[in-house]
Subunit: 418 residues, 2 copies
């Protein structure tokens, strides 16, 4: 494999720093190198510095990318997404525009359940094709790693189908997918009057098979009124931990149910959503070193106005993560730049804090902080180039496709050479 070099990036945004998630004022420290350069050998970053420092180290036969006028960032790491599903929910979207609430639509058999019907009806090949389209979107938006949840199958066979699609896609796309088992996403229709039976199925049948096939790194659950209650959540996640899975949790999205405190108690890696979380929940997360994963795309897409309290979380020392929550019902964006815009305009996070939250902090939340999330020697050469000279433009403009090109392990997977 020929060496690859980048020279003359207007800003090489390295995110170099301590080997741990960034907290407090560290979130704003991006370690930017102006007129930056980078040398890559065998898909791994060999050297990072000014163009003047890097140029003499470049082998004669290396491919050299001209970064003039461009910002270079670590590939975005999207730590919360639901990219595998059948169909879409444009009909419900239209109903919501006409005034129906998300909860009303769910109560009428829509919502997650409607995607479950379409996902069950889809073959593995169909799901693979649709997810591949989503994978191209992620790459096009500059993201190189995505956490991918199951949760639209809700039978043992269908949950395994989704997780196998995720695994098989690692052959077809260069986007890295981190699999999470979310069998406890909703109670499926056929178990409406037998909720406990479904929970037993998740614990006694799905979990063991998922683990046996090595199909997931994490287990997640939707802890929310009408979905899974505290006792059930405790049982499912304790079982998952017993199987060696790490934990992520959907908490405090629609109601403040003490989800943040429960995530802290259970030692989850992340507590996700947190729109309704108050000061006590934030303190609980801080004490237990749980990373909050904030999903402003879903607040926006549901037409709500209560965003998670990002500033309080940063001030409390939490290692905040931003993610898309890409899914067909409540957050139909695969774009981290769009999330950076939402974070700045709706949650008062600066563009720098947003970039940290969607790169190095996200990488640590997926236990990959040692290999991705920053541009430092020894790390995997996942990076994205954008057609702008200042990284802040990624949050400042919105709806503009600024991505110039995207590289995974030192190979270009989107965009043209330059």
């Amino acid at each position: 494999m020929k060496a690859l070099a980048v020279l003359h990036a207007a800003q090489l945004v390295t995110l170099a720093g301590p080997a741990r998630p960034r907290v407090g004022p560290e979130l704003a420290e991006l370690a930017i190198i102006p007129d930056g350069g980078m040398l890559i050998r065998d898909g791994v970053i060999a050297a990072v510095g000014s163009s003047a420092e890097i140029a003499p180290q470049i082998p004669a036969d290396a491919e050299v990318v001209n970064g003039s006028g461009c910002v270079v960032l670590p590939g975005f790491v999207d730590a919360h997404a639901h990219p595998v599903f059948g169909g879409n929910r444009v009909e419900e979207f239209e109903l919501r525009a006409r005034g129906a609430s998300y909860e009303e639509i769910a109560a009428a058999g829509g919502g997650i359940r409607s995607t479950v019907r379409k996902t069950r009806a889809a073959s593995e090949a169909e799901l693979r094709a649709q997810t591949l389209k989503h994978a191209r979107w992620f790459l096009q938006c500059g993201t190189t790693t995505v956490e991918a949840k199951s949760g639209y199958g809700l039978t043992t066979a269908d949950e395994l189908k989704l997780l196998r699609v995720i695994r098989s896609l690692q052959v077809e796309t260069r986007l890295e997918l981190v699999p999470t088992f979310l069998g406890a996403h909703a109670i499926p229709e056929e178990f409406t009057d037998r909720r406990e039976e479904y929970v037993q199925l998740v614990i006694n049948e799905m979990l063991p098979q998922v683990v046996q096939e090595g199909l997931a790194e994490y287990c997640d659950i939707f802890f929310e009124r009408g979905y899974f209650d505290e006792d059930t959540t405790r049982r499912v996640l304790t079982a998952a931990k017993g199987h060696g899975l790490k934990l992520r949790m959907h908490v405090d999205q629609l109601t403040n149910s003490g989800g943040a405190a429960l995530a802290a108690e259970l030692g989850a890696a992340t507590a996700d959503h947190l729109e309704q979380t108050e000061a006590d929940g934030i303190q609980a997360l801080a004490r237990a070193n749980v990373q909050p994963v904030l999903l402003p795309g879903s607040v926006y897409a549901l037409g709500k106005t209560r965003y998670p309290r990002a500033r309080e979380m940063i001030e409390a020392g939490l290692a905040v993560v931003l993610a898309t929550d890409f899914n067909p019902g409540s957050s139909q964006t695969p774009s981290i730049p769009m999330v950076l815009s939402l974070a700045a305009t709706q949650m008062k996070m600066t563009p720098a804090e947003g970039v940290t939250a969607a790169t190095i902090n996200a990488a640590y939340s997926l236990q990959r902080g040692d290999s991705i999330g920053s541009l430092e020697p020894g790390k995997v050469a996942n990076f994205s180039m954008f057609d702008c000279a200042d990284y802040r433009e990624l949050a400042y403009y919105f709806g503009v496709p600024l991505t110039h090109s995207v590289y995974v392990r030192g190979e270009r997977v989107f965009g043209a050479a330059s």
Copy 2:
């Protein structure tokens, strides 16, 4: 020029209908042809129908575009934009993320005035290059006509410079620009204590020269506390009308100043913004047949939550228009699909209403409803193809670059052939 044909579009969204702006329930009528086809000769639409109807009419040497799996729409018409400016305002954007208000930043010499300084310092060539970049963004987002305001020069020479850039760009880009003179955008710094002198300059020097050189079709003004008051607005716009210009107005954006009623009284073509407009203003617009131009991008980007009352306006029979308000301070998006997302999620307009508001209704607001804004025989062949099978996906997904290709007068100006 060879004939061009489109066949097998999943949805050919024609917007065919009466030769006037659409009101009330008409806003939701898109006149969609499934498996649609279109024949184009000399840049003009010759026939529209099902693929079965169109196929036999296609000459043997025509170029045939395969629309399978794609939605085809009239090119979007963006009826309110400020695409000519120097620099950007990322620093202020960061300050706002840190908690400063738009008004505070403006009071400290930022806001419009900071862009005025950068725009005055830029040469005509520099402005042309930057505006050309913006033009590419508009085309990439599926827009083929953009209203383009001056207003960042605020001296006679600089206002003329901006309008000349707009005119000269018509040679360099296929994006159609409709020029509007907005000398009354703000009181420039050097006139802070001589406001009336600046108004005199606008009326007695700028307006006559703009008209003499034929540089504008419309005159606009920012009617708002701290900018231009009612008496001044009346004088400037009456003078503009006397010179034969048509009127557009920025009204009721930050405060309800009775701007809608004033627009009605002055016979403006459009009243734009209207975030603070109440029922009486809506009724005034209805009585005078003024088209409201709604700009949800600026509400979003300023982190505000009060959107214009789109539903009340539709119910009152107004021919609603949606536009981007693309500008460096308060709406940094050139994307109509992004605006369709905002309209659906934040203003409860359906995707169909949004599409009508950003095509045929926008075209009529610029006195171009007879030539663009719908796909009907005799109209200019401006159209955009999107990588989705249902037009609603354009509002449903956000931050996703769905544009497949864009055509102006029957020639492809963005994307690949298919």
